[in-house]
Each structure stands twice: as structure tokens, then as C-alpha cells.
Symmetry: D2
Subunit: 433 residues, 4 copies
């Protein structure tokens, strides 16, 4: 594996001065540019389709992140702001109830208009407004402005990851097997050896410590008692997951949660998402075409239900999120992250400095922790308070980021969350015991 190309970006994790106009302008431009770069290989038609209700059309993502800056920044900081695109408010609000009515989520792919060109025109107009605001905003409001801008950056980065996974899904259901880009990988890659690292029991502080940006759900930092535990030094590989499959894992109801089994049966799950059985063995659909499943790569496109069943079969369990966070604290922020622009997890033996591998990047790791508020949690005021808090039921926490997550977006305390049946993100498994 070549050295990760994103190491330069790690400096972004240095204290970030949100009241510095130049810092803000640079960051705004660089974040915005990434969205456009991700869309570069697309044809106009690729922007329109919504291939399942959980996904959104690329066009919608591009417009929605723009709407976010318009709604939460321009409307608030530009005096007497009147939108030149009032009709987009209804179309491109995702779920912010307090920001007004929204178009039906599952029908985003039924709208041919606004066209892709219109959406980029909207994007450009808002960019100009924002950049002008960065330049001219009154000093007194700069701090508060920077704080919301940072939410906007992080928000757009989340949609960049969704853009990638939603495009992957759209291409995957097309019988013509379109490729996002042409790319090939050396086949001699190897996963590091599997070991378990031991951690002592203790009363630990968990949650963000208040330096730099974090989402409200990472707060407040609080004490949690952990029993001693062991954490696997790397994620589960395809080879290991195939052993589960060959042992009848998908047919053995005893391994599965009660809520999981009807899902397994209804969808006929017998392998991770995107896997195809051919005579010569298992293949998977990737953004770079259909390829043989590589035994050493981390298994991915796994629901919580599958991760949990695999762990039970393996005589282990999934880590608690506090355990994961504790273990991650000493890791170097490196690995297979979005800056590498290889949107497919690959075996990777980059040690993160302390004997743990791939804690960051490659695959999001399911924890066994339901997504709940930390003791003393307070959502932000107003519509931005809907960002995280209202999802605190029926979802599980994932940690560490994936190959599609920016290195400037991830940290030890970052809490991602999805419903336990979902598989279209780059999700994987790290065992604990």
C-alpha cells in the first residue's frame, strides 16, 4: 500500500481559528471543492436518480448542502436577506421541522427540475454570497458566524460521504454495471495479523474535551465505568466473514436477534450487500466495477444485525462505544480516509502507532451501543438542535470513519449512527471480548 496521501490534511486538526476570515474562506472553498470533485465523473442523468428511499439524488445533495448555508448562515447573518431561490426552501430542506415544510423524502428522484445546471447555478450564487459575507461581516458577529460555518463544513462533509455511498447504490442496481471511475488495485495486499489488545477496568472520561469543533452529541464529557476488556487489533476480514457464511451463519436463526431474523428472511440475505455469487466464487460490486472479493480486505456493507450475529458466532461481541473511544485515544489520525479517493476498503497494514490497525478509515465499526444521549446532553438551540438529538432511538453507534470519510471530519469522540438493518454505508466489524 502506498502511504496515505491525506496525511497533509491532518494539520487541519490543529486548533482551527473560526474567527479568522482567511481560515474560514480557505476552509469553505476547500470543502465545497470536494463535493464538486466527487461529482466530476457523473453524467447529467446520474444526478437525477434516487435508487432507494434511504438514498438521495446527487443533484439533491449538491443543492441541500447549499440550502444549509443559505438557511443557517445567510438568512441569519445577512441583513434583510431575501432568497433569490425561495422555491428551493421546500425542495431542499431535509428534515429540519423548524425550518419549514419539506418535499417527501422518498420522492426526491421524481423531480427532473431544477436541472443540474440550475442547481450548480444556485450553488454558485450562494458561494458568492457566503464569500462576500466572510469578507464583510461585522467583527462582532464573526465568532458566532464561524461556529455555524463549521457546522456547515461538517454537514457538507457528511453529505460527501452519502454522495459516494448513494452513487454506489445507484450504479449497483443498473444491469449495465456502470463504473464511477476506472481504477485497479494490486492484488497482493494483506491484512495485519489478528490480536486482542487488553484494557484495564476503570472510571474513564468519555466525550469531546471542548477543543475544536464537535457535534452536540459528543458532549458533555462525562465519567463512565468500564470493566476490563480486550479489543481486536483490526477489523474482520472477508475471509473470516466467509467462514461464517460457510458455517451456515445466514441460515442459523439462533445466531440472530429477534428483530433481525424477519429482515434476513424478507430480503433473502445470504452475504454482505453488493456480493454476487458466480461459479468461480464470490464477487462484489464496487464503484470500480465488479471484482472478486479479496479475502484480506475488511468485510463491509454489513448491517448491525449481521455484525452482531457474526460476533455471536465467533464467540465474541461488538465493542461498547466507550471502549472503542478509550482505545482510539492514542491512535495516530491516519489510514484509508476520503482524501485518498479510493472509495473501497482495502487490506491495510498501517499501524496507528500503538498496535491497533485501521481504527480510522476503511470501514465504520458497529458498536453494541444504542445511540443515546450522554448524561447532561443538551441539543443546540433552534432547528440545528434537530441535527442529532431526534435520532436517539432504534439506532446504533458507529465509530472511526470509512474510506469515504474526510480525515478532517473524524476524531476519537465522533459518533455516527444508523438503524441496525442498513447496509449501504461502508460499515464493518471490529470484535471485542
Amino acid at each position: 500500500m502506498p502511504a496515505p496521501e491525506h496525511t497533509s490534511t491532518i494539520t487541519d486538526k490543529q486548533p482551527f481559528d473560526t474567527s479568522d476570515r482567511k481560515t474560514l474562506a480557505d476552509r469553505y472553498r476547500s470543502v465545497r471543492r470536494v463535493s464538486e470533485k466527487i461529482c466530476k465523473p457523473l453524467q447529467t442523468e446520474d444526478y437525477v436518480v434516487q435508487s432507494m428511499p434511504d438514498a438521495s439524488p446527487a443533484k439533491w445533495h449538491i443543492a441541500h448542502v447549499t440550502w444549509f448555508f443559505e438557511t443557517f448562515v445567510l438568512s441569519k447573518f445577512r441583513k434583510d436577506y431575501v432568497s433569490a431561490f425561495p422555491q428551493y426552501d421546500y425542495l431542499f430542506n431535509s428534515y429540519y421541522v423548524q425550518a419549514g415544510e419539506r418535499f417527501t423524502r422518498a420522492e426526491r428522484g421524481l423531480l427532473s427540475r431544477p436541472s443540474v445546471e440550475d442547481v450548480y447555478r444556485y450553488r454558485k450564487a450562494i458561494d458568492e454570497e457566503i464569500e462576500s459575507l466572510i469578507e464583510h461581516l461585522d467583527d462582532s458577529r464573526l465568532k458566532e458566524f464561524g461556529r455555524i460555518m463549521e457546522i456547515g463544513f461538517n454537514h457538507e462533509q457528511q453529505h460527501q460521504e452519502l454522495l459516494i455511498t448513494d452513487l454506489k447504490h445507484m450504479f449497483s442496481i443498473n444491469p449495465l454495471h456502470p463504473e464511477y471511475r476506472q481504477k485497479s488495485f494490486p492484488s497482493d495486499r494483506k491484512a495485519p495479523e489478528l490480536n486482542y489488545m487488553k484494557f484495564d477496568e476503570g472510571l474513564y472520561e468519555i466525550g469531546h474535551d471542548g477543543q475544536n469543533f464537535c457535534f452536540d452529541n459528543e458532549l458533555p464529557r462525562h465519567r463512565t465505568f468500564l470493566e476490563s476488556f480486550e479489543l481486536a487489533t483490526r477489523p474482520v476480514t472477508n475471509k473470516e466473514f466467509m467462514a461464517f457464511m460457510e458455517d451456515g451463519g445466514y441460515e442459523n436463526q439462533v445466531l440472530w436477534l429477534s428483530d433481525a431474523w424477519p429482515v434476513v428472511e424478507q430480503h433473502g440475505w445470504n452475504a454482505p450487500m453488493y456480493w454476487l455469487r458466480r461459479d468461480e466464487g464470490w464477487y462484489q460490486k464496487t464503484l470500480y466495477g465488479v471484482a472478486k472479493v479479496h479475502p484480506e480486505d475488511p468485510v463491509t456493507h454489513i448491517s448491525y444485525y449481521e455484525a452482531d450475529a457474526f460476533a455471536r458466532w465467533a464467540g465474541a461481541r461488538l465493542p461498547r462505544e466507550a471502549e472503542w473511544e478509550l482505545a482510539c485515544r492514542e491512535c495516530r489520525l491516519s489510514g484509508h480516509l476520503g482524501e485518498r479517493e479510493i472509495y473501497q476498503p482495502l487490506a491495510d497494514d498501517t499501524d496507528q502507532g500503538n498496535g491497533l490497525y485501521q481504527m480510522y478509515g476503511s470501514v465504520w465499526e458497529w458498536t453494541c451501543s444504542p445511540y443515546s444521549p450522554y448524561p447532561g446532553y443538551k441539543p443546540l438551540e433552534g432547528a440545528l438542535g434537530e441535527y442529532n438529538g431526534k435520532f436517539m432511538a432504534n439506532q446504533f453507534v458507529l465509530r472511526g470513519g470509512s474510506c469515504a470519510t474526510s480525515g478532517t471530519h473524524i476524531r476519537p469522540t465522533y459518533r455516527n449512527f444508523f438503524h441496525p438493518h442498513l447496509r449501504w454505508q461502508f460499515t464493518g466489524i471490529r470484535l471485542a471480548r
Copy 2:
């Protein structure tokens, strides 16, 4: 109303020599050109969306009618034909079981590829092949060839009508209210007076008489005994339909068929499709924007269930298809047909020569006849036999064509058919008693 511009095309109804190469080439080009003309106002994005399972993306229509010529003409008449587009066979077969496997109908809008450009490239390639075949086919096969070509012409004309109604549906659900084209109409139009024309009982011959092209479901010509009846001289107008609405027609379950009522309730029907209630009265979405409902225009976008309930309320009934056919026989083929390129029914007082108005064009007229085989009906051999026969259950016959039907495609014996709950075609009502 200006005189219908399509009158010139009526000469196409003259005997059509399907073994004449030039005739075939001219007809091929002119039919194909109409599809492209209908798509001219579209943006790329407009080709991609499938706004409901009953509709198809424009892109799909354009490709499917091409696939039809490739599959039923080229594969059969070009020696050792090998398709340059083998992957399209699966994508663009609609429902011909005997022509192979098909992509799921309801998911046609999930495919961003092939692109619009690819599809037009396909179209062009097949056009060249077909035109070369017209020129070079062995004389001995010309007659059979012409017969299949004519099915292809008529098939494409049917999809031209669907293109228009599917686009109308797609634009209608878009909150931006896009317009297909800009067009406005004089507001002083008037429906002719409503009268009833009387017909005597008798044993009548019904069905196509074997001159020129017809579909297999118009055959064989056979005898039917009809009691004496009266037929309304023009379709029901919006004004008349609004009287039904104001009288509580949509709320009075007694007026509705048993199968109709759950549909009315489920969808909350309280007006024809595309109607909008505003403070100032009823409006309707048209391909030319939202416009006030004109009281004199024929009511349209009416399901069979609504037509039947209206007729019951009016103390009348819908005509039998044999009654309609008998009455139509003496009508001149004129009226508001597709060649006029005004895809919205308008009040029209063109007498069809015998005191009946708008038998052709404007709106398809629901008959009370379930779509059944004529005595002695034989479907065509092979996959083309699936064209009509397999739909002979749970549908009702419509007669006369609409403003989106080509004048070279309609005739007194033509049997259109739809399920009784469907409303997105230009369907309307003519009463009988």
C-alpha cells in the same frame, strides 16, 4: 378554433401499400420523426424520471420503440442479425414474455444509464439498419415485412401518446410546475349543444372489415344484436361534471361501484386528476401550466369509475362499444387529434358530418364494455400475439382517440383499453341511454 391542421394526414387512411418500398420508407421516417418532435422541448433530466409505476421515463419509450423494430423486424428479416446492443434486450423489452426476460417495470426510473445520448445513438443505428433493409430486402419477403413494419408504426404511435401523458404526469408532481411548452388558448370557446341521436335496434356487423391495418383485437368482424339506443352528440363538459361534484357526487357512495369506492377513499378523490382547488375556483395542471378549468371543455383525466358514477348520477349510462362503433361509422375523421400538437382537450364544435361532435380526438371515451375477445378472436402467432390478447380481463374499452392520438392511428373499430381506476390518459365521457 382554427381548422384542425392535421386534415392533410387523413389521406394516410387511403389504402396503404405495405409492399411498396418508398411508401414504407416515408412512413417509417415520418412516424419516427414525430417521437423526436415530442421530445424536443425536454431537458436531459426530463428523460430519466419515472413518476409512477404506470408511466415510463421518456428515455425508456424512445429506446423501447426502437427495440421493437430491432426485435420484431431486424432479428427476423436481416440474415444472421447480431445486435450491436445485446444488453438493451433485457432493459427495453416491455412485456413480451416470449421475447425474453425483462427489467422490473416499476424500476425503469432507477437507471441513469444508458444515457439519453446513448439511447439516441441506438435509435440512429437501428434507423440506418431498417432503412437499409427497406431498400435491400428480397422482394419475396416484402409483403410479410410490410405487415410487421405496420405494427411497428402503430406501436410507436401508441408510445407517442404515452410519452405525452407520462410527461404530463411527471411535470404535474413537481412543485416548480414546469411547462412542457408555452401556449395559450382563446377563452371564448364553446361546446356544441347537447342532444341525443337515436339509433335503431338491429343485427349489426362489428369489427374491422379487413381493409388496411388493424390490431388483432378488432377482428373478426362479427354480428351483434343491438337494442335501439340514443347517444349523446358530444362529450360531457367540465361544467356538467362540476354539477356532479357540487351535488356531492364524490361523497355519495350509492353512486359508485363496489370496487370503486375503496379507490375513491384511498386516494381522497374529489375532482378529476390534475384539478386543484384554489380560492377563486377550480384549476387544472396542463402541459402548458396551471390554468383555470374552462367550463366548456370536455372533462378529462377521469377514471372508468368516475365516468360510471357520473352516468348513474345523470340518469344515463355509458355506451356499449358496439353502439359507439355503429354511431362512428358515418363520421368524418376530423377533430382535435395529435397532429394539431395541442395536448389538452378544448371545446370544439367541429361537426363530424352527421350531427355528432368530437367522436374522434379530444378525449378517449369510456364504454361500459369490458375488454373481451370478439367471437372467433385469434391472437397473432408468437410474441406479437401478446400485444393485445393477454389484457382481456379487468379492463374497459375506450373509443375514438384523444388530442394526443395521431389521426393516422385511429379508426371506428379501434379498441383501446385501460384498468377502470386509471386516470392519467386523456379519458372522458360520452353518455348513452
Copy 3:
């Protein structure tokens, strides 16, 4: 086969004087007694269950037929009638919109109360009222009274047939395979030879001639032109239907109507309803336990879709209802009808006097005629007008009655109707060509 035990009842087909008090009283008592006899083998629990939305609990049938007499007879003919059971009006109205609000049809099995005992108490109370009314009603109203009473008799007879088929369904889904009654049949039974009888073309009078009772949908008698045709002399047997199955009939989509195929696929149909595949061959669930399918018995529990596919496979078609009626006219009213109390079609070689077998009884025969109004059809006035007319869409006509139909209820002009996907009635096939 022993001679049918119901021949004595055929005298009921003699002109029936509905203004004679004794005739009415006898008929009332004999019809009501049959319902009770059918329920005799039931345990209390068997009365409660609704095993599918198309069926109703036995308790509901017993109450509903009573409600019918209360609502359409007592309320109308008893002066100042006040129901002692006002709460039953809501529970036991089936579908008469004009008779008031109704309890949700699909949830009839969720009501443990009124108890079975309550329902029989209701029945007894209404019986006493009706019998008293027969005795004391003013002479001047007797004729009109008799006319409605006759509808009540026929209505209850229809529910007797439904009682039997609904109980069959309920027992069929119980893994304990309860038996309605113990009964066995000689195994050496034989179907008559299959021939086709020829009928000439002509203008025929179709529909009831006005003698005795008929439903409104059998009127008015009217002229229909029929081409010459041939009708099979007996229904299709299990042996013949198994040949269709062995030939891949259920897997060959080409044989099926477009609306039929999704039904076949969704339910995984591969044999008639109630058939079970065991190692030793095909078995079927009957009201008398699970028994080997007898090759000579008429095939039954067949949807219209299956009847239509079978006919297509056999190179024949289903008869039109007018053809069937013409052929039936000369048949003797005899055969395997409900009075025999053997609720399972059996091979039966009783000639009906003219070379046709089993036109009456055994199995209802699907015709290819959609259920439509006869020319000039007028529904009854008021709520009773909902009895037949509002079902005239999406259903097909069946003729001839089954082993569960009373011989006093069936006639050549009788039009039964069901949706084409339904199979739980004793439905079968007679071919035509």
C-alpha cells in the same frame, strides 16, 4: 353414485305462490332450518374465526341473514317496528350503504361478542316476529311482502353456500386438520366420457322469462346473437388438470393473462387450492379430511385465471354465459346439489336428459363473460338495488351451481359472479370451442 336425494325438492321449482301464507311459512321454516343444519357439527369456537378477509365467521352469517329479514321485512312491514337489537344493525349489515354504517368487513373475526348463544337468541326472536307477520299481515300487502320474503330466502341460501366454503377454508388452515363431519366415498367412481355438443348460430333470447323468482341481474330477457359453438359434455376432471400441471402449465407465463401472472407468482400457485403434494402424489383438503385427489372428479377450487390458462393450454376456451344458458335450457334440474349434503364434488355420470352432464351442481362453471348489466337492466329500488348491480366491474360470471348450492336456488339463467383471482368457492371448468 346413489340417486341424488334432493330430487324431491325439484317440485319447489313449480310456480311458487308468494301470496299464500302457508307456502311462505313452510318455505321460511325450511330455508331457516337448513342454515342451522349446516352449523350442527360446529363447536362454539368454530363460529368465531374469520380465516381470511373474503370469508366471514359462521356466527356472522347466522346473524346477518337474520338482520336481512329484520331490516328488509320487519322494518318495512311491521308497523312502528322498533328493534330489540339496535346494536346489531351496525355489526351485521354486510354492504348495504343505504341501510346505514357497517363494521369493517375484514375484522369480523375480532369480535367475541355477541356470543353464539346471543346470536341464536336473536335468530329465534326474529323468527317469531316473521312467523307472526306471515300470519297477521294485512292481505293487501301480502304480494309485496312475498316478493321481499323470496329475496330473503334466496339471500339466506347464498349464505348457506358461503357458510360451507368459509368453514372449509377455516378448517383447511388449521394444522390439526379438523373434519367438518366424517364421511367416505366409494373409490370406483367414474367421469362420463368427454364429448362436445354442437349448437347452431342464431339470435337467441337470453335472461329470465319472468316466471317465478329471479334476481334483478337476470333481467331483462333480451336478444343475443350467437355464432355456432361446441360445448363440452362434462366439466374438466382432476386427471385432465394434472396433465396441464405436469406439462408445466403453472410455470409457463405465456399461458396466463397479464393480470394473472403476478397473482400466480405472489401466491406461488402450483396446483388448485387445497391441494397438497405428498410423496405418493397429490392430496386435497376436504371438509371430510385430507384425501387423495381422485382423477375422475371434476377439478375444483380453481380461479378464473387458472380456468382461462387451462383452456388456452387445451386449445379451447371458456363458454360465454349466453352459450351456457342456451345449452342448459333443456337440462333436467338434477345432479349433485346441496340437498345431498356432500360438500365435495365427485365424479357423477347422471345424464341431464340431453347428453350433458353435471350442468347443475358439482362445480360452478367459469364463463369468459365479464359480469355486466343486460341491455335495459334496472336494479331494484332502494338498498336492495345494491344486491347485484354495484358489482358489475372486474368480475366474471359463473353458472350452474355447485355441490353446496340448493336445488331450489339454481336455474338456467342464474348469474353468479366472483373476482377472477378467487378460489375458495367450488369453482370448476367446462370447455367450449
Copy 4:
């Protein structure tokens, strides 16, 4: 309120010698007798109905608890045990995958057989076998036997509570409003004053301490760090909940979790389950008929979603389960529990000895803790390991028992759990902050 009649049973919470034959026999008989007592007011028909998929017919409960003793006790401890009821294994297994195939849960109400009498015959036969086993089992196995028997007792007690809530649901949907029993309550009851009790932060031991019986999910006892918190001294009353309703709580999407809102909309929730709006105010369906909502009673039939929305509206939150357990430790086991046989929560001012009211009984109290395994959790071996563990996703923990819970079944560490949208249990709200 009269003194709770069940105080005598509290002695059952004394160490219970599961290897003493007389103790086991007494307990077996007393637990079994309660099930029969609950069913005493039922008519045969009431045993058959399953009024929604989450509920089961009374007949099924009665048989299933018997099957539990047969499967987990007789089959294991009776040498060469051969069931006299082999067909019941398939019908009355609930969800124990390792105990074999099961009948579809949602269709339990479609089975009229076995009859109620059959089921009681089964019950009696197993009772005799079990009682004989208690007497004759080899001493060496008595300890293990007692351990499983205790699971059987607790299992049957859980179904006794379900029997009550399932019957309540069944009666509630019947338009005749049947009453389980006639009972009335004094109207001058009063809720105690609302206060908040303060608890200090600390590292606490949580979970069962190993004395007497507990379920596997209460183990192992483990350390948890809690921040200081305050707990309401009594549950939320109807009056308080009505204030939420009057303030538009059910219409204000901002108060609701993201997963909650579609449920609110789909079901049109605007009040707790079983509430009816009448002109004179709010009424509720109870097992004792329809009664005016008493403002002082604890609100009940509340989903987690409603409890969470109410808490947000009230500026408070739901307690964590460890907080609740800590607070409950010093409470006297008293209150409105099942032994009182009043299956309706009532205002109750019994102090539990430490200033907290109604911690036990009245209503199950939703905690904000998702149902997850304690650190080091091990399910039981074999099929009994499915009892609790496999439900550890998408459910929330409830504490304290309700008016339908036996006092011999509840304890401070007891973890009940339900999906967050469910309302048919006696569930309520206690606030924390």
C-alpha cells in the same frame, strides 16, 4: 383506597427453597390457579380471538404456559417422556427456535381448534404429570428441577399480565363494549403531591445480587457511574398529560423523535390509547367499561415515544434504568399490584417508606435506557437462553411492574422491555432531571 390485599404474598420474597418439594408444589398450584382465575369471567368465544398481532388469544396463553412446563420440565426430567399431545408442540411454541418449528404468530386467532375444553384438558394432564414429578423426582435432580420450575412460574406470571392486557385490547375494539367484570371505584381519589427526590453521584452496583430468582438479563451485578440526579416522587397523572395535549403536544413535531413522528401520523394519535373524546370530555375504555378519565390517576397506555415527547415538553427527561433501580432499592414492596385484582391504575398515595410513591405497581415506567446486555451478560444455555437475550435491540427498559403484575414477580432489578411504539401494556411515565 383500601390497603393492598396482596401484602401477605410479600413473604414470598423471602428466600425460596427450590429444592423443597412442598414449597414447589404450593407455588406451582398457586401460580397456575391465578391464570384460571383471570379467565373465569370469560365466555368460550372470548378465548378464541386475537385482536392484533401483538396480542394472543386467551386460549393460546393458557396452552402456551402449559407447553412451557411440558417442554422445559417434563421432557427434560421425566425419563422417556412421550407427549400425549405431540401436535401442540408446533401450535404453542412462541418463539423458541431451538425448541422447533412454530405456527405463525399473527395467525393464532385463525384456529378454532383445539377447543377451549381441549386446552383445559391439556392443562390438567400436564398439571398431573408435573405434580407427580414434584413428588417422585430423584433427590439428586431436585435443585436443577427447582431452578427450571421457577422460570416456569415467572413465565406464567408474565403471561398472566399479557392475558389481562390482551383481553383489554380485544374488548376495546368491540362496538358492544363488553366488560370483563363489573366494578366501580370511589371518585374522590387523589394523587400525592409531586416532588423531586435528589440522589448523589457515585459508582453504584447495579443488577441482581444473586439471592432468589432473577432472569438472566438482570445479571451480572456490575458497577455503573451515575451523575447526581433527581427523580419525581410519583408518576405523571392524567391531568398533567392533558395539559400536554391541550398545549398541542401531539401536533408539535419538534417534540417528537424522528422515528416517532411517522407513527403519530400514521395512527392519528392524539391521546393515550383507549381514550375517547366525547362532548363532555375525555373518556377511556377500561376492563370495567367506559369511564371518564380521572385527572388524578397515573396516565397509562403510553408509548415510549409519547413518554419521551411529554418529558421534553415538561423540560425534564425519563430516568435511566440504573437511576430508577438505585432509587427503588429502599422502597417497600407494596402498592397497586396484581393481587389486588383491579386491573386499572388508580391514584394511590401509599408511601413506599421513603417518600417515593407507586414505584411498584400501578404502571410500568418507561426508562430512557435502550434494552442492552449488562457487561459480562451470559444468556442461559439452550432454548431458555432465547428468553431475553435476543430482544436486545430497538426496545426500551421499563421498571416497577403494573396493576397487572404479581407482587411475587417484581423486584428492584427487574427489567421489562417493549418496542417504543407499543401502548397496550399498562405503561406510564415518571420524570427525572
